[in-house]
């Protein structure tokens, strides 16, 4: 059993779907900092995905600092990002711009999109 779930959707790169599922599991607290992350082989077999893809998932999450590799022990979930709040917020610039572009295209106003963001924000556990 994997400590997170992936609901695969057609058409999107498998690699992006799995990395997103891992980040979401961390955001919801399903995957706690310091907990063990499954090996590439286990990921591949449990999700029925190509081992090369599973490897790419672990490599990119490690490069982003989401996972930490301890030689001889394995891969664990990293503690939340450090650095100033402004530095961390800058990581989301691209995603925020996309959200605003899509919202404008759909004709939503500022208040509506902020409310929608708030509703999603509250679905996840409070910061500890």
């Amino acid at each position: 059993m994997l400590p997170f779930t992936v609901v695969f959707r057609p058409g999107e790169p498998v690699y992006e779907q799995v990395t997103y599922a891992v980040k979401k599991a961390i955001a919801t607290g399903q995957l706690a900092p310091g907990s063990r992350f499954p090996a590439v082989r286990t990921l591949s077999q449990e999700l029925r995905i190509n081992p090369n893809t599973a490897h790419k998932v672990v490599a990119s999450l490690t490069a982003e600092g989401v996972l930490l590799v301890h030689p001889g022990i394995g891969t664990v979930v990293a503690p939340p990002a450090s650095g100033s709040a402004a530095d961390r917020a800058a990581l989301l610039n691209d995603e925020l711009e996309r959200l605003v572009v899509e919202a404008r295209r759909l004709g939503l106003d500022e208040e509506k999109i902020l409310n929608a963001v708030r509703a999603h924000w509250r679905k996840f556990p409070k910061e500890t």
Binding site: G11, P13, Q45, R48, I49, N50, P51, N52, T53
Partner: protein, 306 residues
Amino acid sequence: MNAIECENLSRSFGRVPAVQELNLEIPAGTFFALLGPNGAGKSTLLKLLLNLLRPTSGKSRVLGRESTSLKAADFRGIGYVADGQDLPEWMTVTQLLGFCRPLYPTWDQGLAVRLQGLFDLPGDRPIGKLSRGMRMKAALLSNLSYRPELMVLDEPFGGLDPLVRDDFIQGLLELPGDDRPRTFVVSSHDIDEVERLADDVGFLAGGRLLVHEPADALRGRFRTVEIVGNQALTVPSPIPPGWAEIKQPAPNVLQLVCTSFDASLGASEIQARFPGSGVAVQAMTLGEIFLVLARAHRGSDGKGAL
């Protein structure tokens, strides 16, 4: 290193060309899905690679050796499972494994036992008395157990129920994971079962390789698009590059398949052509993309590629 290389590979049966001037390189460690409609030449190509058929012209190399000079010893590193292939009907699965084991220096008995359990294969019944799914699993088991460097599967999923398919895929995924790269070449006329496994996709039609690219790139550039306007819409002329299967179910609705979608631009390029209209863009499965490719080929006298 390439596990497979083809150079102008051709094979005809009488006057009928089955594989035409085919060039292909598959790097070692790749899961390659060979797609194409029935009669596209998939089985012929796989047989040419493994020297089960001789080419009319051109050549191919497998694991560094020319196909036409493959020897028995080379086949210790190659697995081949084909739909409806011959198996010794009178042997039980246990007898088959006992027969194969001494033939392969790389035989992994632990893997054989694990796979037999995973596949839920009875060891004591003659293979001739097993169901189709069981027979395919027996064939796969006897091939995977010597950990081949190259695994060639010709329409392995045809007629298998979803549970057996899943067993089958799980079995395939038992193979990688040690130091050596494992290459898979899997032909299918229905891609859905290998959607999450394929690194690269080749699309064969009329004996020609029309498309060969990473599965993610293919998924990235195909989208269904629906444009809904407040008034009647007209199809741009000339038709924009990359547009296919354009339909107009109502005067104010256009549906099409975009084959050159650029995710960084999103729908903006299409939106710009139809100001004030709603544009809905949807990703497609490899199976749906495959159908678009097949229809485009059928409608183009064998020359079309998207």
